[in-house]
Subunit: 336 residues, 3 copies
């Protein structure tokens, strides 16, 4: 895998066009914190598969157009090149492009609206990276969240932009208590996978597998934490009695997976203690998800990844508080 990436990197160094593609792929990969073009490609395949299977190919187009617009905006405004190359100016743009075309439907006006939004989130990201945020939470999908809310709420007042009602969660059969345990396990696994694939608004098993593959090529730990996060989310949702359609359509799983990957592998180095803390954060994300559902449903806007950001805001603390002490000592020994 590393050799493939090295060879790709060599070609990118020689070609402006390939470099531009590389940056956009990394932007797609950063949606799940992976600075890796292969991860980004697999995430795009997962997205495309889900979008086409769902009869909404325009969502894929909207995502890619907003992503490219965002990347071009970052160049136009002379964002620092290191961040551009890591795809940090791409993931908010692709997410807002997907969200707006998903919720506002196919039309050229919406596509232009999504590209405007892609540019705006990129600039907001630039401001965020420049700012000294008081919390120093490292992963910001704030531009995506607030941007999508603003553009969706604005569409309600614009007669030129079609603002359909938010799509209802499809009615799926609730967990039947008399099912055989084998059936239940199969259902359970399907819930799990749909939780993961929801990161791109789709709940198809194949999409979930592509996403896990995209994580695994970059970080085995990230793939495992994604699975673990989905597991904890489904169990917690059952425990507190979240309505079963919400669980099964994966809407409750979207943010918890982000939380598990972020707390388990991005904010802190993976370890048993960190895994415990990530599990706590995942449970809190399910609570935050339910709270935001209650709060935002009357406004007609979806929680998006806000439950993850809320959990990060509440629970992101210094590494020294969370990581095992042994690691700190070893790190101390290595120093002068």
């Amino acid at each position: 895998m590393d050799r493939v990436l090295q060879s790709w990197e060599h070609r990118c160094a020689a070609s402006t066009v390939l470099r531009f593609i590389d940056i956009n792929l990394r932007g797609a990969g950063q949606v799940l914190f992976q600075d890796n073009p292969l991860s980004g490609l697999l995430f795009l395949i997962a997205l495309g598969w889900g979008a086409i299977a769902d009869g909404r190919p325009h969502v894929l187009i909207g995502g890619i157009c907003a992503l490219v617009t965002g990347t071009l905006t970052a160049f136009w405004l002379r964002a620092d090149e290191a961040s551009i190359r890591q795809g940090l100016y791409g993931y908010n743009a692709i997410l807002i492009g997907l969200a707006l075309t998903f919720f506002l439907g196919p039309s050229m006006t919406v596509l232009g609206y999504a590209m405007l939004a892609g540019a705006v989130t990129t600039i907001a990201m630039l401001g965020t990276l420049n700012a000294r945020m008081p919390w120093s939470v490292p992963a910001h999908t704030y531009p995506f969240i607030f941007g999508t809310w603003i553009f969706l709420l604005a569409a309600v007042g614009f007669s030129g932009i079609p603002s359909e009602a938010l799509p209802q969660a499809e009615e799926l059969p609730a967990l039947s208590p008399d099912a055989t345990s084998l059936q239940r396990i199969a259902e359970f696994i399907s819930y799990l996978l749909s939780s993961i694939s929801q990161i791109y608004f789709k709940d198809h098993v194949a999409s979930a597998l592509f996403i896990i593959a995209g994580l695994a090529v970059s970080s085995i730990a990230a793939a495992l934490f994604a699975l673990g996060g989905a597991l904890i989310a489904v169990v917690t949702a059952h425990l507190y009695g979240v309505e079963s359609e919400l669980i099964s359509s994966g809407i409750q799983g979207f943010s918890p997976v982000l939380t598990a990957v972020a707390f388990g592998t991005v904010f802190y180095r993976p370890s048993f203690r960190v895994a415990l803390y990530a599990a706590l954060a995942t449970v809190v994300t399910v609570v935050a998800q339910s709270a935001l559902n209650t709060l935002l449903t009357p406004l007609g806007i979806p929680p998006l990844s806000a439950p993850f950001q809320l959990a990060a805001l509440l629970l992101f603390i210094h590494k020294a508080n969370v990581e095992p002490v042994e690691d700190d000592r070893r790190a101390g020994d290595a120093g002068p």
Copy 2:
């Protein structure tokens, strides 16, 4: 009084169990900014008295369980010991435990939910203390406020957690204009005391007296400012025509008392000029209370101490702007 506290401190130094109790008592004391175990004990008595008289002993249990969970969480995550010993990781936890068991009712699931919330507020407090907040407002009940809102809003979506409607303010006879002035004075004093006792969701006269005693053993000024704050709140509420049930049940008094004690004795050193400023802040807190009532009632969540935090956000400025100039000079003379 000081000798009692010194002797207690000696015993705590020798015993881990007593130290743990001391920390939790100080946590209860910090609800009204007092780093004093005796204050905490008196506040707990005030709370217990009110809870039992009200037929809701589970509220006391919920508060204490969340407090202990919070303190243990602070130890688990290696929070700095000085802050732990001052009870700074306790007051948000006890407040959220009281609020959740008060609003969600008695049940083991709710108790577990309150303890989870106690842990979460403690971690959020840890993050807040570590963060460089842009406003440097020193007293943070943000974790309590936002935590309670999140856990209450989430309960609406959880069928496993009973979310009764928020309790209606009891209908009390409005101020009758033809009453004798003696009666009116008695009513007025009763309003005053219920304002103070509302800090723990109860409006019993005995609770109010225990709270004032708890303040007085630690700081006479704090007790006086609490009384003054309640007085100004009741007068302002009458002036602007707040509905009388709200005044008499003390709901309007909760936050203004916090504001008066904080602005008069915690943020600034007590003086005539500071008292004037604290009075202004108390009036603004009544306005903020009314605004938050309007805003939050449709969401089904209570303002809690948010009016105090809002007033602090608007009005907390440098000591040099608020304290008398003479004090600064004297302080300057003492320095090198």
Copy 3:
């Protein structure tokens, strides 16, 4: 013009009363970012003209009383004199005075309420200037926006303060597609001017002209960007299909004009590249305006200048990213 101002400055230096008037005029001027007493005077004339023509002279009185209260509060709390002299403690106070008397109607209680609010916004401004805001967005009308929302929401709960419903936008004839182009141009210009005059809640052509004059005496660029911003706002609103009454009554134009002047002449030095960026920010302000209309209408509070602040929050980035590179080089050459 400069000689008139110099002579005025000489007289102010000699007279405390004139200095106090000068400070309050600059406070009025800072509403549109102009530290210039003549601009402030022209803005006050625009306001007075509109208020009297509209049969609401109390709005003018409310604005001036809150302005004077704010300035006196700044002196009482020993705000730094440089900021006081630039009128930085005045513009939030006059704006909240205008807004509260406009929305709550004429009465002595409301006037006192507006003066209290003027003092509060000034103190909030003092706290804001002292704070290290994470975003460093230079122009803060936050105290005005949040202050007005709080005092308006609070009025709903105060029976002593008349809280009429927010005034409906007057029904104006929509753009008729069969009108001659000359008529349409006249309509268009009238929309433009009403956009500008809305900065003071009035949509009278004469007011708009006084405001443009007030900008021009201080900065020709500011006057041009105000016109350009109004133009872009009206065009964008037509493009996205904002309801025509909203456009024609100028409500959509208020914040975009602020954005255009701020991004074009205050945040960055005027240039072609900066003008492009200011145009983007103006379009985003129209989107933010529509989003806030959707969000705030159920709460019964107006967006005020929040769309401008939201656009500034999203789009304010370093000068090096936005200003032309040539300027930086020249600036670099001038240095040592």
